[in-house]
Symmetry: C2
């Protein structure tokens, strides 16, 4: 995997200058006269990860030959919205470890998380309202609405073991695909002083590429949560079982299980930790599930579905001219499948 | 007071049709294909109160002779942002009762509050991006940023008994004045297809009117939290003392107290409820404070400051032509001072 990671780092080199500009924009947006606010925004660095969504804005801009001088700002907005969702997720999930956040100390409580997330949303929208074109504001408002709706749906569908795959994918698309789709669509449609219209075919294809990539990413994420090693993944794992989220590998396994296995799966999700005889901390239920239920076929099925989506996404890149940026977008798709983090 | 309330209702009659349109816009924005989302947005009605901020957009539009057909939508956006802050405040404060919300049942948890708040923000921004002028998007992004910064500052300044009045007012202005200011500024500056520029004198005066009104409102709110009857106020009272918020009446009282009284004030705020011998539910500390410390001079001082602000705000209305709308804005200011709710 580290070979693939190196390869991607190499391919990302051409957009590194713009990535630096994107980071500088975020840093400037987090500035404040208030020491209390600055104190809080220092926590943001604990959530900064791969910045893949920002990179997609820039790479799609390159690959479509439509990169503008405002692309780094658009990328910064996408990344800030992603950060806001991560920060609020920390309250939603009660996640214990996110991206090895030893730096988020005991002062990190629900209040901090809500205010910091709201502040990030406000600054991201504020930045979008100062751009030449209104497209980012419009697309990002719609996207965050869809993101929230996905989270709300997901909460309502907890402990649903008979969920149709399409419903699971609808939620996963809204939660994760939406922002990938917006990143790629903006990368392609943003131009100055106006944006390419909604009828623009390249914009539509890039949006679909992002949507499929994001859904694949989420499916792999769900697999890693079930099987992953927290040290490698860099955030809590096993939280989905703890939180009652029945993800694709479990849905598939459940649908292929006999009724006693199904009952046991439900028990592992729902019985109290005392009754199950497991620890209360995150990960114990997922571990028990792995020990008692053969998840291999379910995991293989989910990975197969992610591969199918990635293939379809990569196919869309065929509409773009050959370029190293296009090649990078292909590699990114492969990276999503191969990631262990 | 009920006389004043009736009088205001009468004066509001001319904008009632626009208020209805504003409510219809909000209802449409809360619509969703997802039953889970609809389920959640039904909670919003529990937070709907006086809708004073929305009314200000419309009344200022009338009073300045600048009302447009999009004013009800602008008013809806302001109101939705206010609702989002109330919903998130519910997590921040751990408020027990807000506007007699028996209708927010046991399914109301932190997760619901965060998602519903985020959803409201997203829909409010989304609506603003579809208006003819970009001014509402720009102003509201800046306003929500300032709102969050105010909340963050406030959290950092808990248990600060030597806070300068200017610092207290800075936080209160950011928390409450900012949205009133934005409502009045938008009411005055919004026109189609473009807005009046930032140099527009009427826009600036109306903004200042809103800012002063909002700060006065917050000061009265802080007095009511200390003295109010929860049945009359319609939300939890005494929460400021519980949460360590040292508000103007207490700051003044503290500054005029001798050192043993000061120590007792600090004790009432900070000692465990066991040591104080009071109940753990909200309101017990404020009650103890009222019993042990003479707060009258502090409350009178705070009310005096609110009156001063309202006088200044009303003075600004002198720049507008005589009209019943202008008279309503004067009455609203009086209502802010006289309110018991």
């Amino acid at each position: 995997m580290s070979e693939l990671r190196e390869k991607v780092a190499e391919l990302l080199a051409p957009i590194e200058a713009d990535m630096q500009r994107m980071r500088a924009v975020i840093a400037a947006e987090l500035e404040s006269d208030s020491p209390a606010v600055r104190d809080m925004t220092t926590h943001v660095s604990c959530f900064q990860g791969k910045q893949l969504r920002a990179a997609l804005v820039l790479m799609v801009g390159e690959a479509t030959g439509r990169r503008t001088e405002e692309h780094p700002e658009v990328a910064a907005i996408i990344e800030m919205i992603h950060l806001a969702t991560l920060v609020h997720d920390d309250v939603l999930d009660g996640a214990e470890v996110r991206r090895r956040v030893a730096c988020v100390n005991e002062r990190w409580d629900n209040e901090t998380a809500i205010l910091l997330g709201d502040f990030l949303y406000a600054r991201a929208f504020g930045l979008s309202t100062r751009l030449t074109s209104r497209l980012p504001s419009q697309l990002l408002a719609a996207t965050t609405g869809r993101l929230c709706a996905g989270e709300i749906e997901q909460a309502a569908l907890r402990y649903s073991f008979d969920l149709p795959q399409a419903t699971y994918e609808g939620v996963a698309s809204a939660k994760t695909g939406a922002l990938y789709a917006a990143a790629c669509e903006l990368g392609a449609r943003y131009r100055l002083p106006r944006a390419f219209g909604p009828e623009d075919a390249i914009g539509r294809e890039m949006r679909a590429y992002g949507e499929e990539l994001g859904l694949a990413f989420q499916i792999i994420d769900d697999c890693l949560d079930l099987t992953g090693d927290p040290a490698a993944v860099g955030k809590s794992v096993g939280t989905d079982v703890e939180d009652g989220k029945v993800t694709l590998p479990v849905l598939y396994t459940y649908s292929k299980s006999n009724s006693s296995q199904q009952a046991r799966i439900r028990d592992v999700y729902t019985l109290s930790s005392e009754l199950l005889g497991v620890a209360t901390e995150g990960g114990a239920r997922a571990k028990l599930l792995r020990e008692e239920i053969d998840l291999e076929a379910g995991l293989a099925y989910a990975r197969g579905r992610a591969e199918e989506l990635v293939d379809r996404a990569v196919g869309r890149l065929g509409t773009l001219p050959e370029s190293s940026a296009r090649q990078t977008l292909e590699m990114v798709a492969a990276f999503v499948l191969g990631r262990t983090w």
